[in-house]
């Protein structure tokens, strides 16, 4: 899934540490779109989880397995339905939902196979993006989202508010939500999302059915 993900440069993924904080030590985790396995490795090394990954790019998969991670080649859109209900404590989708064909179905599947779902999203409501569209009249190309509109894998962008609405639509309870600013600093989201929706570059949600 992260073969060409804008955030695939995993070395400086600020959402990873936020995600790791949400995961109970020793739990069973499935990382959907695990890319080169950087998050899985953090979770295994720091949280002692039983971690698995699903990844679209076979090259990334082979890299992960050669580094001792349990990863299969698969597509979030089509391959999650095979897993049994409640198979994992956490199903994680980091910076990937915007690249899926059917974000709603993917989220529903995550909530079915995991007791919890953790989703991190690039916030399309961030002010810089609004400037791109609103002032410059162009689709945004930023450090976080470096692709031109015609060759981006990201086909389903949303804002923080949009994602919260999707959670409502699939009856997901938001247990925790964290906004992350450009410096990677954590900002707790209050009930009023307007501020975060404007200034957070990314957000991480801990959900359950």
């Amino acid at each position: 899934m992260d073969a060409h993900n804008p955030a695939a440069d995993t070395a400086n993924r600020v959402d990873f540490l936020q995600i790791a904080d949400m995961v109970e030590p020793g739990s069973r985790v499935l990382d959907v779109g695990c890319s080169d396995g950087a998050l899985l490795k953090i979770l295994i090394d720091q949280r002692g989880v039983d971690g698995r990954g699903v990844e679209l790019s076979q090259r990334n998969v082979n890299h992960c397995v050669a580094h001792g991670l349990s990863v299969v080649q698969g597509d979030a859109d089509t391959d999650l339905m095979i897993y049994p209900d409640g198979a994992f404590d956490y199903v994680i989708l980091s910076q990937t939902i915007q690249a899926t064909q059917h974000p709603k179905q993917v989220l529903e599947q995550m909530l079915r196979i995991g007791k919890h779902a953790i989703v991190s999203i690039p916030n399309f409501g961030h002010w810089r993006i609004r400037v791109h569209i609103g002032v410059l009249g162009r689709m945004p190309v930023t450090e976080n989202l470096p692709h031109a509109w015609y060759d981006t894998p990201n086909i389903h962008f949303c804002t923080i508010k949009d994602f919260v609405a999707l959670c409502d639509a699939v009856d997901a309870k938001v247990e925790e939500k964290i906004a992350v600013n450009a410096q990677g600093r954590k900002v707790n989201l209050g009930n009023n999302l307007t501020f975060a929706n404007l200034f957070a570059e990314q957000a991480v949600f801990l959900l359950r059915r």
């Binding site: 069973r28 039983d50 698995r52 076979q58 998969v61 082979n62 992960c64 397995v65 050669a66 580094h67 001792g68 991670l69 349990s70 990863v71 299969v72 080649q73 391959d79 095979i82 897993y83 049994p84 198979a87 994992f88």
Partner: protein
């Protein structure tokens, strides 16, 4: 490999049928320990010929079982006693190799029904004093693994760190995982399938018919008759060998190149290099393989359908297993294509088993698992090391 094949073979056959020391170990099971076969019969006595490499550690946590393929044998990583060639998986198993014999204790048994020391159709039936021939009950992949479990008990090893193998070896790996999950910490089935496809059964049937059609076969009693169906067995090998390669590999290696000649001879000699190559493969095969064993082992593969033992649902075969599994396939393998390997992965995912799946891009066909494919070695190294740490083995 493009050598001509016009060599007399008759003498060499005796190497296989003679009772002689192959330079490996044997586990022998008497009438008190019969092997219960799937067909309902007991097989006794049973002999399992095996080879080991490396040293079993004190807590017996470093044992790796290698399951060989249809025409493989226990001589994984040392000189073959008959052919004098290097072991068939020397690239994978040995000191400093992915299956590192400096760290791991590697066991490989000649498969049940085979012809290099383990009980098979060329073994002597104690009731008649003659080779079993076709009176040996038909054996299955399940039976093969049952005999390996007996070997493991004999060696007093409670649990394998890993079981691995390609093709028919991969079938045995799957059988191990499904039936004896508590005895395998990890498993690497390579280029295999949970059931033999119609196409693969078809190719096997061609091979078997070639053997049966050889007048020297004598209803399977060729040893008693003092003959050998080497022509039939060679044709079987030639047909099978094509399925181990890929069209690209054949094209790149041979194309339409002529063999030791400048023009077509307008006859049926081996004009083309590919013909000469196949004839050579066939003719050398009969030196080291027994025709009846070929019948029995191909049959065992044809009968393999793991899901059938679990009400037709493959996932049910893997329910509750704690074994870590790494499935590996090759893009150009049309005998055991990625789709068949992926079916295994899906079944494992359906029970949330700990599974990895690597498809390796190569034009080398089914035989890729035996060849120098660096990505295969990287995968096995990474997976096995990780499994070893998880199994409590020190790095």
């Amino acid at each position: 490999m493009t050598k001509s094949m016009e060599k007399p073979r008759a003498k060499k056959r005796s190497k296989l049928t003679e009772s002689r020391d192959l330079g490996c170990s044997y586990a022998r099971f008497g009438p008190d320990q019969p092997l219960k076969l799937d067909c309902g019969q007991d097989l006794s006595p049973l002999q399992v010929a095996y080879q080991t490499y490396g040293t079993l550690n004190e807590d017996k946590s470093n044992a790796v079982m290698v399951c060989h393929a249809l025409t493989g044998d226990q001589f994984v990583a040392n000189t073959h006693p008959i052919t004098g060639k290097d072991g068939w998986w020397g690239l994978m198993v040995g000191p400093g190799r992915p299956v590192d014999t400096d760290r791991f204790f590697v066991i490989c048994a000649n498969v049940l029904g085979g012809c290099l020391g383990t009980t098979g159709p060329s073994s002597i039936d104690p009731d008649t004093g003659k080779p079993y021939g076709l009176t040996l009950p038909v054996i299955t992949v399940s039976d093969m693994v049952r005999s390996q479990v007996m070997l493991l008990d004999h060696l007093e090893i409670p649990k394998l760190l890993c079981v691995t193998g390609g093709s028919m070896g991969g079938m045995q790996v799957l059988e191990w995982v499904a039936k004896y999950p508590d005895r395998v910490a990890s498993a690497i089935p390579i280029a295999t399938a949970a059931k033999h496809s119609a196409q693969n059964i078809a190719f096997h049937e061609v091979g078997r018919q070639a053997i049966l059609a050889d007048p020297e076969w004598h209803g399977g009693d060729y040893t008693v008759a003092g003959t050998s169906p080497s022509k039939g067995l060679a044709v079987a090998r030639m047909a099978a060998h094509i399925t181990y390669l890929s069209e690209t590999a054949l094209h790149l290696k041979f194309g339409r190149n002529l063999q030791d000649r400048d023009s077509l001879t307008f006859g049926f000699d081996a004009d083309f290099q590919i013909e000469s190559y196949l004839r050579y493969q066939g003719s050398t095969f009969v030196d080291r393989f027994d025709a009846n064993a070929y019948l029995y082992l191909t049959r065992a593969m044809d009968y393999f359908d793991l899901a059938a033992d679990y009400g037709g649902t493959l996932a049910a075969a893997f329910r509750g297993i704690q074994t870590r599994v790494c499935v590996i396939s090759f893009t150009s393998d049309w005998l055991f294509p990625t789709s068949e390997n992926r079916e295994i992965v899906r079944a494992l995912n359906a029970v949330a088993a700990n599974v990895s799946f690597v498809e390796i891009e190569t034009d080398k066909g089914h035989d890729s698992f035996l060849l120098d494919v660096p990505e295969l070695f990287a995968t096995v190294t990474g997976f096995l090391n990780s499994a070893a740490v998880q199994h409590g083995l020190k790095g």
